[in-house]
Amino acid sequence: MSSPRMTTENESGSGLPNIVPAPPAKFVSDPNPVSSAPAAPSMIREYLNNCDSGAMADKSFAAVMLLCACSIFAIVAFIFGILVVHSHLSLAQFGWKFFARSAWDPVSGDFGAFPFIYGTLATSLLALVMAVPLALGVAIFLTELCPQVLRAPISFLTELLAAIPSVVYGLWAVFVLVPIMRDTLGPFLYKFFGWTGLFEGANFGVGLLTASIILAIMILPIISSLTRDIMTAVPNSQREAVLALGATRWEMIRVGVLRNSRIGIVGAIMLGLGRALGETMAVTMVIGNHPEISKSLFAPGYTLASVIANEFSEATGDLYLSALIEIGLALFLVTIIVNAIARLMVWAVTRGAPARVH
């Protein structure tokens, strides 16, 4: 194999005594490349040498950014503080038990937040149960399966859904979803799933289930478009790695795509949940607005956000107002706790395995 013709590209002679490297002519023509630089100090060098080091600019930039970051803490603390201060009457009257009480009687001044917390959590979680599989399906279709021509229109439509004001969703729900719920879907669910006990009692078309469905439709575009972005960011080398092992398309999506983007997907779900927890208008229009806790999803309910929107303007008496503000505090806390639980879940799942994709 020792041949004078044998040359190397970049490893000339490394541990290969039997191969004689003959460097190509173009590399030997200029043995000292530095000599080709201009002899006189150039304008550019002079200019760069006289440039300011930028240390001041860097420091002030860092300070401004720190201020921006701190403003987040300040805003959160400020909102929390205001909520606590303005609900002091109610806090003094009912203490922290307010969050566990079921009474809501403005006439006799007896207030509790539990039915509202239940309504908020039940509708939001139910909405997630419906929206997440659908959103994942949309995202998987868009990133992995969709023909190129359909990709842009479907993406555009999903994003359009996110831009519709919630009151429009509410109107649509009142005129379309409520009758369907009352006349078609409700009786169907009662007939086939009545045994679960989740679909009992009178069905007027408005209630927890209707509110959950409209919430699911509203959070679907957020979750699916975020998930789509996250899945698009998974490098192709991951997909090829799985395919090359003899994976089917679904296995490739499961191992190569979903597994690598699971943290991002949980983040997208959390953003959707955040919107569901705080959504006011559409839910208020179809949930029935009655503070009760019922196992049946046909039953009317009430959410934290809806009760504030409905009753704030007509709240007479300081205690009533204070109780409504404490409802706001409850919503604030529910959001924080739900997010904290989600973070814990992510941490528990990904512990030990860094999820960064190269």
Binding site: E9, S237, A241, G246, R259, H358
Partner: protein, 252 residues
């Protein structure tokens, strides 16, 4: 044991670009075959046609006959079945970052529903030993993520992952081009040992690498295979002027 591959009139396109033109070639079983040529000459496309990875790109297509042993891979089998029998190692290490080293190595078996713990354990040890990585990682197989290894280790883990499914053919698309000389020489030693049991096709930019590991070498240029012969012949007495120009560095 590996099987040989027979390629007849293989043509491949990316969109309207004709990336491979009338390739005819016989890759012998249980030998290492190197493919050399300048960037963009079609050698990677060729390798990707052998395990039907080429067609995963929506604008890509291929025609012709590729026979692995008795099987015509474009007619007699699905891409999934083919890829189970041809392992592939890519240019850049692509470990699964969310999996431990152990799970990375057995990912191919797990995908196909293999669950026997004892055999999985044995397979991990066997393939990591074949890939010369066992001694370095045996203590934290399940503790460390595949992505926490160094680049050279990751690539050897990817080789172990490909070997774990016991393929008949191992395709390597510039497996050492992103690695330092020490890792490179480890991978070359590996190829040298593996070729008694597997048919190896290796794409490389490094001609000494081709000379070191392969019995046969093919030279690709502009989508055509200019010359295919024993490595010795290619590097000492090539038939074609273009081959000679390329291997002596007088090209272009």
């Amino acid at each position: 044991m590996g099987v040989g591959i027979l390629v007849e009139n293989l043509n491949a396109w990316y969109g309207s670009t004709h990336t491979l033109q009338d390739i005819n070639l016989h890759i012998p079983a249980n030998h290492a075959t190197a493919l050399i040529g300048p960037s963009g000459c079609g050698k990677s496309t060729f390798v990707r046609c052998l395990n039907r990875m080429h067609e995963t790109n929506p604008v890509a297509r291929a025609t012709g006959v590729v026979k692995m042993g008795e099987i015509d891979i474009y007619k007699d089998a699905s891409p999934v079945e083919i890829r189970r029998r041809l392992g592939m190692v890519f240019q850049r290490p692509n470990p699964f970052p969310t999996m431990s080293i152990y799970d990375n190595v057995i990912s191919g078996l797990k995908l196909n529903g293999f669950r026997n713990r004892q055999i999985l354990d044995e397979t991990v040890e066997r393939s990591l030993k074949q890939a010369a990585l066992w001694e370095e990682v045996k203590d934290d197989l399940k503790k460390k993520s595949g992505a926490s290894l160094s680049g050279g280790q990751q690539q050897r883990m990817c080789i172990a992952r490909a070997l774990a499914v016991d393929p008949e053919v191992l395709l390597m698309d510039e497996p050492a081009s992103a690695l330092d000389p020490v890792s490179t020489s480890k991978i070359e030693d590996l190829i040298f040992q593996l070729k008694s049991q597997y048919t190896i096709v290796i794409v490389t930019h490094n001609m000494q690498q081709a000379a070191r590991v392969a019995e046969n070498t093919g030279f690709f240029l502009n989508g055509k295979m200019v010359e295919f012969d024993s490595t010795h012949k290619i590097f000492t007495n090539p038939r074609d002027k273009r081959t000679e120009d390329y291997i002596t560095g007088r090209f272009g």
